[in-house]
């Protein structure tokens, strides 16, 4: 069978890198004998300017329709030679690379053996290119609006950066207010500036920004589409209070008969069923917690509605769904503290005076339940001996979390320091494994805590603690002195591990983006693509991606915003055209490809599979799954594979 192909094969010597081991002349000779090959050349450096020119000349002179360059890894010069082929008037997809350097000449010494292998590799590329189709990148329009999920510092920063760049932003937050965990902190290390003082203005800016649509008390339920063109369905939960009308008078909360733990204060205080999370909450409005309310019904209670002079309360509000179209998504769903129930040995959740770090933040905060006084929850006395336990749950692959939560060394130092400022005659004991204080001004801060604030640092773990005579007896080891330590503590503060929030798990599911083994969102590349998810158009910011402190979170949020701005500044996006194609006559509509596709790129229409070219990444999972050879990836078809296998085996 004469293929009618006009393929040129260009064998690169790569100086001596290839030619010393592979008989390049013989490779060229062998390829000249292959069907469809009408021209072969070998040259010392094919990627050099004269080399590339020689290829262009040969293409024109021999009226080539396809090109194989046998040289180094396609990772290095596939683009070079495809662009070069294009410059000569060919379609860039009619150029294939045969890697005879990294995968051959560099790893074998025997010239005969290496040459034989190089011939097989080259022949298989010739067979492949013989059936390559000319393709053009797929152009995709873009929606210049961005969905930001999560209203903590990461989401706030990303939203502001995006909005200030002129993009429309939809910021969705699950809770009734912006702020996330950062708004719960009292002061921030290492400068001890007040968290509320630096975050509140940003929250206000978000709420006032004309480019930002803020959706609090809302959840992203479904996201479909692809880069540049996502559709998100957002559930707006009813707050039963109209924020425009609410005057923040607090009358409703005063009359509400229901008392439930206050989440913002981590259960250290209580709130009513109708409440404002905290004074600076944004949006500045009350929320009626449906799950706590006696019945949203004047017959059952109705006190709040009666007392509201502004008439802001409406029991008839219902959840509603809103569809927003966006071009990109930033996921900033944050962290949760590693569950208290998981650390029974430290008595958390069992003893009132064993607190987690966030609870301690609230105790230190001037706006907190104790108005900034450090007092024991059990008897409201001032604790004189406070034990801080670092790595509570972190760095413990056998029992708890394998990872280092990164911020605990610093915030524990901060806690010890704040405590000493509040209770100068108290003693702060810190159990630690190592001190990890890499960061600007961090190490100095820890040293100050030790030296100026005289916190007592003990290197070792706490084996056990139990309650005795109103105190908490802490048994531990100081591994530096080799002594066992027993402390009768008034309060214990656990630096619980950071774990991905439940919202992060939900977002990953909704967005179909990967998570790492620990459940944090997986970045596309750990070094080079730290803010990209594996799905184009979805970006990551903050602790949802891994433990990090505020400056790092802000940096990542801004980086994610910059990536989005770059993406959406293009008038059109282009997508690789090597996508799956359905052979309709063969398709039985069994849907196996639909299930196998990691990108949800395939659906059934009229009983046949249809590929969304823009969603398809060309991985071939569909093709390998189809029993009927009814779907294949263009330019990597089973027919091409079959011939490449033949070429490799001299069949």
């Amino acid at each position: 069978m004469s293929s009618g192909k006009r393929t040129g094969v260009f064998v690169c010597h790569c100086g001596n890198n290839i030619a010393a081991t592979v008989d390049v002349v013989k490779v060229a000779q062998e390829m000249a004998g292959e069907e469809g090959v009408v021209c072969t050349k070998d040259y010392v450096y094919m990627c050099s300017d004269p080399g590339q020119k020689a290829v262009i000349e040969a293409i024109k002179e021999n009226r080539l329709d396809s090109v194989v360059v046998t040289c180094c890894s396609p990772n290095l010069h596939e683009k070079t030679f495809r662009d070069n082929a294009k410059a000569a008037g060919l379609n860039s997809f009619t150029c294939e690379i045969a890697n005879i350097r990294e995968q051959c000449s560099w790893v074998h010494k025997d010239r005969g053996v290496a040459t034989a292998k190089a011939i097989k590799i080259s022949r298989s590329a010739v067979r492949r290119v013989g059936r390559n189709q000319a393709l053009e990148p797929i152009a995709v329009g873009v929606t210049r609006r961005v969905l930001v999920i999560g209203g903590g510092i990461a989401g706030i920063q990303a939203s502001l950066d995006l909005a200030n760049a002129g993009l429309d932003v939809v910021l969705v937050e699950k809770q009734a207010t912006l702020g996330g965990h950062m708004i719960q902190l009292s002061e921030t290390f290492p400068t001890l500036d007040c968290s509320q003082c630096i975050l509140s203005p940003k929250m206000v800016e978000v709420s006032r920004h004309p480019k930002i649509t803020l959706m609090t008390y809302s959840e992203v339920q479904e996201v479909s589409g692809y880069v540049g063109n996502f559709k998100a369905r957002i559930l707006r939960k009813p707050t039963f209070v109209d924020p425009e009308t609410c005057k923040l008078c607090d009358d409703c909360s005063q009359v509400c008969p229901v008392v439930v733990p206050n989440e913002y204060e981590l259960g250290l205080t209580a709130r009513r069923a109708i409440y404002i999370p905290f004074a600076q909450a944004m949006p500045a409005s009350y929320t009626l917690d449906e799950s706590a309310c006696l019945g949203l019904n004047p017959i059952v209670c109705g006190k709040c509605k009666d007392v509201c002079e502004a008439g802001a309360i409406n029991y008839d509000m219902r959840p509603r769904s809103e569809i927003v179209e966006v071009g990109a998504v930033v996921v900033a769903t944050g962290f949760d503290l590693y569950g208290q129930d998981n650390l029974g040995e430290y008595g958390h959740g069992k003893y009132e005076d064993v607190l987690d770090g966030l609870q301690f933040e609230r105790l230190c905060s001037a706006s907190g339940p104790t108005k900034g006084k450090v007092l024991r929850p059990s008897d409201h006395s001032e604790p004189k001996d406070v034990v801080f336990i670092q790595c509570a749950g972190s760095r413990d692959p056998a029992q708890h979390c394998a990872w280092c939560s990164k911020i605990c060394c610093m915030y524990t130092a901060k806690h010890a320091s704040l405590y000493k400022h509040h209770v100068p005659d108290g003693r702060a004991w810190v159990f630690y494994i190592d001190i990890r204080s890499g960061g600007k001004g961090y190490e100095e801060f820890v040293q100050r805590t030790m030296e100026n604030d005289e916190a007592i640092y003990l290197r070792g773990r706490v084996s056990r603690l139990y309650r005795e005579n109103g105190k908490i007896r802490v048994l531990g080891t100081d591994t530096l002195s080799g002594q066992n330590v027993e402390i009768d503590a008034d309060m214990v503060v656990l630096a619980l591990a950071m774990q991905p929030s439940t919202g992060t798990a939900e977002a990953a599911k909704v967005l179909k983006i990967g998570r790492d083994k620990d459940g944090f969102l997986a970045e596309a590349h750990p070094k080079l693509k730290p803010v990209e998810s594996v799905t184009a158009g979805i970006f990551l910011a903050g602790t949802a991606q891994g433990p990090k402190d505020i400056p790092e979170t802000v940096a990542q949020a801004s980086a994610a915003a910059a990536k989005v701005i770059g993406l959406l500044s293009q008038p059109q996006l282009s997508h690789a055209p090597t996508v799956a194609r359905v052979r309709k006559a063969h398709c039985t509509g069994c849907e196996m490809c639909v299930d196998a596709c990691p990108y949800d790129a395939i659906h059934l229409a009229n009983g046949k599979a249809v590929v969304n070219d823009v969603l398809c990444e060309g991985c071939g999972a569909c093709s390998a799954t189809c029993l009927r050879a009814a779907i294949e990836v263009i330019n990597a078809t089973p027919l091409q594979m079959n011939e490449m296998i033949e070429a490799v085996l001299n069949f």
Binding site: R101, C104, V107, H108, Y599, A624, P638, M641, I645
Partner: protein, 143 residues
């Protein structure tokens, strides 16, 4: 192959582009030497390797077939290697069940950073194939 030439196993190696092929590139960059028996065919993803490719390689006379992808959890396409693992497990079981030496089919996870591992995978495979001799159970008797 003439009667005098000592037997050299012929291996078809399906390598995923993102991890294993990149790993074999790294072996090259690091100049780690390994036997030339395995000829690579780079595919987008191990999940795109149809069982048919494996059977076909044996049918066309391969003495061994290697499929290598990204480590579980690292797949560029998120799930491809999970699909590969399940499908090719069935292939492996079927081959063994029908009396094809289990050492003739091999899978490995080789990351882009594991040049040395890739070389070792090939070395081990070649060593395991040598004692088995040429594969003629599934090989078609054609040119």
């Amino acid at each position: 192959m003439s009667a005098q030439t000592p037997y050299e196993p012929k291996i078809v190696a399906f390598l995923c582009k993102w991890c294993s092929s990149a790993g074999s590139d790294l072996a090259g960059v690091s100049r780690i030497q390994y036997p030339a028996n395995a000829t690579p065919i780079t595919v987008a993803c191990s999940g795109g390797v149809s069982p048919q490719f494996v059977l076909s390689a044996f049918h066309k006379g391969a003495d061994g077939v290697l499929v290598s992808g990204c480590h579980i959890g690292d797949c560029h396409y998120m799930e491809g290697n999970f699909h590969a693992r399940r499908k090719l497990y069935l292939v492996k079981e079927l081959l063994e069940f029908t009396g094809v030496e289990p050492d003739r089919f091999r899978m490995s996870w080789v990351s882009a950073a594991e040049g040395a591992k890739f070389a070792q995978v090939v070395r081990d495979f070649v060593e395991d194939l040598r004692p088995l001799g040429p594969q003629d159970k599934l090989k078609a008797e054609r040119p």
